[in-house]
Point group: C2
Chain length 361, copies 2
């Protein structure tokens, strides 16, 4: 499947397809991410090296630097957040190197939340490898996560920047938002009356808040102007929301070969994602049938899954999620337009945002 996100406003992988018209394509974005990861990894490793032996080994495994047998790892995630942090410093004219502590700190907070969420969600695998809790036990995942969270503050405050306290404070408030999102996500599991607004607010906490922090923390640490910090933060939040909406679409209609998850994974687990919540609450008869299907017990069969996916679509959930993701991307790009950023970095941010919100499904 090659369809790009959106039915009306097509968000292509090439920035030249619209918006700023500055040419940065998906290939450049992958290069950009790789370059950023290479620049940040030594400082991230130095930070993790300060942990106690057990937490250090678990963090190194979790981050993809080692395998379970201690051999070198095959690398971790795309390090999107460190890249955003570096770009946000460059966007206000600061050398990218100045943003390294900010990039390390957001990556530490992100991985703190992954370690704890994997445990709470009972996920035994992440990126096709056993999760820390499933390998070393719940206590290790709790402590390793705690250690990464504390380390994030240390790294930022040691940066020597006069703006490190502001950056640390913002990251702590963001952590509170992450936690609110996860609290609500867990609470939704046992509720059958979750509305679209609540669901969007949960996603803003769980996904949007850390991308907003990542996309602005480099500018904060560099003491960039308020208009730039605020524009970058809005950009990060809206890209995060678009990313989540696309992720939810992929959770129903994604190609397992591309997503790495079973087909219709979110329906299989009867998860109340955004398109599903939309269809249930605003989808009329189809929504009511979908609600009854979600409330049923037992393992859903393949026919049931197909029917449920059709009900999400009939209830308007698919179209709404696509359109909402488009609206979010528009808002993200408009926020950058008014922020007075360095033009080259501006174009890179647009390209990175589109890359993130444009996974095939």
């Amino acid at each position: 499947m090659t369809a790009t996100l959106g039915t009306s406003t097509s968000i292509g992988t090439s920035a030249s397809a619209g918006g700023t018209g500055l040419g940065t394509d998906a290939c450049d974005v992958r290069e950009l991410l790789e370059r950023c990861r290479d620049a940040v990894t030594p400082a991230l490793r130095a930070a993790v090296d300060r942990l106690d032996d057990a937490s250090r080994a678990q963090a190194a495994y979790h981050l993809g630097w080692t395998e379970l047998d201690g051999s070198p790892g095959r690398g971790g995630g795309k390090a999107v957040r460190p890249a955003l942090a570096r770009l946000s410093a460059a966007a206000v004219g600061a050398p990218a190197s100045e943003a390294v502590p900010a990039a390390v700190a957001v990556e530490l907070v992100h991985n703190f939340s992954l370690l704890h969420d994997d445990l709470m969600d009972g996920d035994t695998e992440r990126r096709h490898r056993p999760t820390v809790w499933s390998r070393w036990g719940a206590s290790s995942a709790i402590l390793c996560g705690d250690a990464l969270l504390a380390l994030a503050s240390e790294v930022l405050l040691e940066s020597g920047s006069a703006h490190a306290p502001a950056a640390t404070r913002m990251l702590a408030a963001t952590t509170r938002e992450l936690i609110r999102g996860q609290v609500e996500d867990l609470a939704f599991e046992t509720r059958d009356d979750v509305g679209v607004a609540e669901c969007l607010s949960m996603a803003a906490g769980k996904t949007g808040s850390l991308l907003a922090a990542a996309a602005s923390i480099g500018a904060v640490l560099a003491g960039g102007p308020e208009a730039a910090r605020s524009g970058l933060s809005t950009y990060g939040m809206e890209v995060g929301m678009a990313f989540q909406l696309v992720d939810d679409l992929l959770g129903i209609w994604g190609d397992p070969g591309i997503t790495g998850k079973p087909v219709r994974a979110d329906l299989r687990s009867r998860k109340k994602t955004l398109p599903i919540t939309y269809a249930v609450t605003r989808g009329g008869a189809a929504g009511r049938e979908l609600a009854a299907w979600l409330a049923a017990d037992g393992e859903p069969d393949e026919d049931g899954l197909l029917r449920a996916a059709a009900l999400v679509e009939a209830g308007g959930g698919r179209d709404w999620a696509r359109a909402e993701a488009d609206r979010r991307m528009d808002r993200a790009e408009r926020a950058l337009d008014g922020a007075g950023l360095d033009p080259r970095t501006h174009a890179e941010l647009v390209a990175l945002g589109r890359y993130l919100a444009d996974r095939q499904y």
Copy 2:
């Protein structure tokens, strides 16, 4: 039982029994703790009020402000750490009110660690009330603890003090120490070769480090001189170690009516506490018999418990722990002597330290 700690240097509940000779007795200490708690609680409540609804309710219950049915609580712990934080500001001549954010932050970090430790240790009760994880589930205890840790940084950095970044950085490094201590404590459960030095290092992480931070953070936030900050930190560390040694003695010989724990609780759980580790590793034949008893499976009977307690004593564990606690208290008080502190506060710190390290057993 009314014996005070120590066989040679008796540490009485009255400071006039030795040391500085400044009169502050146990009754005054209880008043001091109450006064400090009353001064800090409004700010602590205001901080907790920022959390999401679920975490706020759990934190309020955990802190003793509410009961499970939502009715007003009967109050929480003694708030020793906030009291130390306030005294450490007063010790360098700062108004106690300036230390409030520091007092709130150490109390938040302390309770973050209690929430997570209760879950990891499987403790279903704290102060005769169900623990947060046993009432609301593991995820709630993880998230509520995470939220309190993030909140601690926020509160400190919002204080407006020019020294808030230094205080926050110290508290983050302390959190890393707390985690190291808990990691080691959990690892010791499955090891039978733990030495006294390792056990002391674990206690320094788990108990000493946060008392060291509490006893110096007010001075750090107030920008007090290095000699004072360092003396106060050493005092807190050594009082913490003495406290832990006494706690371990109470875990074997404490009166259940006073400790609130079953008689010989630590032997019952075959916990490798300091006096036990000393006897096992340095107690000759008695130590070897004790090691064999500790390695056995099954529920120990009452005769076995009595025999084990006698072996700890015969192996020198009881005398060593008493003498070590005395040495630690001496070091604590000597550290204050050289720190150039406000005399009245100095006397209060001495009295508070003795009160903490002098629980009857």
